[in-house]
Assembly symmetry: D2
Homo-oligomer: 254 residues x 4
Amino acid sequence: MISRALPFKVRLVAYNPQGEKVVAIAAKMSRSRHGWEHHEDMSQEEIETWIRDSIIHGYWSVLEHSVYTFSIEGISRVASHQFVRHRIASYTQMSHRFAKPKDEFYRPVVPPSFKSPEAFEKVYQEYLRVLESGVPEEDARYVLPNGVNTNLVVTMNARELYNFFGLRLCTRAQWEIRAVAWLMLDEVKKVHPLLFKFAGPNCILHENFVRPEDDPVTLDQEKELVSSRCIEGVPRNGVWKCIRNSRMILEKIK
Amino acid sequence: MISRALPFKVRLVAYNPQGEKVVAIAAKMSRSRHGWEHHEDMSQEEIETWIRDSIIHGYWSVLEHSVYTFSIEGISRVASHQFVRHRIASYTQMSHRFAKPKDEFYRPVVPPSFKSPEAFEKVYQEYLRVLESGVPEEDARYVLPNGVNTNLVVTMNARELYNFFGLRLCTRAQWEIRAVAWLMLDEVKKVHPLLFKFAGPNCILHENFVRPEDDPVTLDQEKELVSSRCIEGVPRNGVWKCIRNSRMILEKIK
Amino acid sequence: MISRALPFKVRLVAYNPQGEKVVAIAAKMSRSRHGWEHHEDMSQEEIETWIRDSIIHGYWSVLEHSVYTFSIEGISRVASHQFVRHRIASYTQMSHRFAKPKDEFYRPVVPPSFKSPEAFEKVYQEYLRVLESGVPEEDARYVLPNGVNTNLVVTMNARELYNFFGLRLCTRAQWEIRAVAWLMLDEVKKVHPLLFKFAGPNCILHENFVRPEDDPVTLDQEKELVSSRCIEGVPRNGVWKCIRNSRMILEKIK
Amino acid sequence: MISRALPFKVRLVAYNPQGEKVVAIAAKMSRSRHGWEHHEDMSQEEIETWIRDSIIHGYWSVLEHSVYTFSIEGISRVASHQFVRHRIASYTQMSHRFAKPKDEFYRPVVPPSFKSPEAFEKVYQEYLRVLESGVPEEDARYVLPNGVNTNLVVTMNARELYNFFGLRLCTRAQWEIRAVAWLMLDEVKKVHPLLFKFAGPNCILHENFVRPEDDPVTLDQEKELVSSRCIEGVPRNGVWKCIRNSRMILEKIK
């Protein structure tokens, strides 16, 4: 039986615990005549200031020095195909040419809008019939549904994550990759709260380019916006509700 | 009825007719104190020499100045997913969120190893049932087969094309993207024969790094190799046959 | 004698005249089930609409399909070093290892703030002395001034140009690369006015993310801004003056 | 007094100690139906095998999951300009617009071929005179020599490091960036000997594409080559000597 419970899992499997400090030292070195060693005993307050100032003034390149590897398991090939369109990242994907998603490994992603997973079972029967007829696995998978599960190892730096979150936390992103993005944000905020404090969908990102710099906005506290609309066309007074809706996907798929 | 004839089409839709000259002038300018104008009336012979020398000595960066746009239509999402893994390129893909592959637009790629396209018709029936049950298109497509047809606009420069051909003309590449790659090679060779003279699968590419430079090898003329094996493990005396097999996919899918 | 007249020259040497149409067709194909041919006789009005909508809604990736090659001659190595930091681009640079900037080829960029070019002459004398002492050219150039002239062939797509202009047309960019950027903008606007209509420094770029979408702003017409500041901190009512100042560099270096 | 001792320092300041395991697990996951957790207790032997097989068969993408940050201090702007041409990397550079290389911070790189550092002192006097005449620092630096010292924070993944080493460990690379490359190789070999076992100049890299796969070559043990020449034209029997010469730069600059 195909489960309705959504199978995907997002796990941060590698990162540098010193990543926030690395970013802050790099930012400071661009303004300093001293080498790395000279800056190495930077205080937590100073780290926070350098990171904040870099982000608020769009000095994004220093964020590239902190890098994160995720294991994203059980997402559909719909989502993985969207994911790998982000080119400034590194990917290793489970190959259906070599690893047959059969038996207990066939766990397609069933969208919440489906009343039953029946269609996915029927398609699976076709897949089995094709395999039995002697078609090799690398061809038989042409019959597998787009919702079939796959695993992806992804490495992205903090700058690209800001860009990824900007696009994929937005309600306009498809629900599945959106759910993955919110889970990824939770993961990186746990380990590097300073670096990801200002991350959010593009409405929030753009707002911080145009509002008073001593009063930036974060996802944690709703403030009136300067922007008269988000880039997708949602007017100022609909933005916060839109963001809350977006995150609600995590409730729907539990 | 789903056709067995393979539906995909590869077409070079944009490129700079002066691309070979642009590459040659750029190569020459790196060694010269003069500006562009000074080199503009370069002879065809000189163009050929600068291109050849750049490739034979691995001076690949100058090849980036000639850029090609292809419309690749009717390939499967298996192939498009593999394609977009090449990150040094630009893509626009037909969105199944907004453009339903229904009726005459449902033309899945049926691998030659399939005895009949029946499985694809059965899956299509499931897709229709799901749509009728009220599931929105962006979710219904989770049931569509991986073989479902899609269109892709791809822009790549000549250097990245060399890399793409190196990997995707190889017998180890899946047959579909391999067929696309051979068709793309035919297209660019027609318009820029000097630039793509030395293109081929990695066995050929690597061979030209290690054999006498006054005797490079091309796909058009089989010569004894210096390499004792290709990077995938095919021994020296099996390489040419392997290349011929690879290209034969174009016969199989006609 | 070293001239005070600024020596640099910016020339668009290659691009696809059909670039705007290519971008518009790609944008349309992402929403369509038809192939390239079907869209090929697109009207000028439709081209304009697809381009405008893509830019206003941040659908930047389609702009990558139109690509531009510039020959930038006589800039300093200060500017070329800044230039090549833009990584999504292709470069070929005149090599001072192989092309000595001697005699009439020594034409350093003298900043307008210098009262006389004397210092550059003195440094040149040191360079000659070092060469005469038998130091090979690739080492002798360590004595050449950072202002020494170099040539660069640059290929960038329209999306990256928007990003480049966003950063380098800004008053905060150094005057030399800023002048180069304004000249590049003039070049591309001449050939593709639709594609570059909304290009400008980041203040303008960001403003178009947050203001009413039916009333975008361009460099040609000053309108009141929604943004309360630019990303560099200039307040709303100082932005237009700041942009006018930025462009004035072209007058100063004539 | 300007010192003849070469001032540059190369230090690995951040990396993931688990990087080799991360690469090996990613490689394995592409062939497996299991998730990350299942593979986490991989033995050292298995890690070695997956890394070796990935490299020998050119499965380079998995190497991108291990990332390294270097602080490179005291190199010339000749070298930093060459360095940043490697586009698949992240950079933060000391800005001479904001950090004046004056007094004890003026430590230009004096090539070993110079009989004396006198020329660099003369140029420095010109720089001081220009500063005193009221020219702002961002312009005054146009007079500074190309050999002037700068600092660079660089982040690169293991795949790009293989590419960087391929080009920059080669005798054809300029001596300064070559010395930096050999020092970087020493740093990463210390912490990840399995991952960088097969790194070397392009002659070695290409050789491992074409020789028997059970007998790969490393820098530590000279073996007869299959390649009849390196890509730069050095014939088979000159290659090992050429590599030894290349590394000797580290002795010359001590």
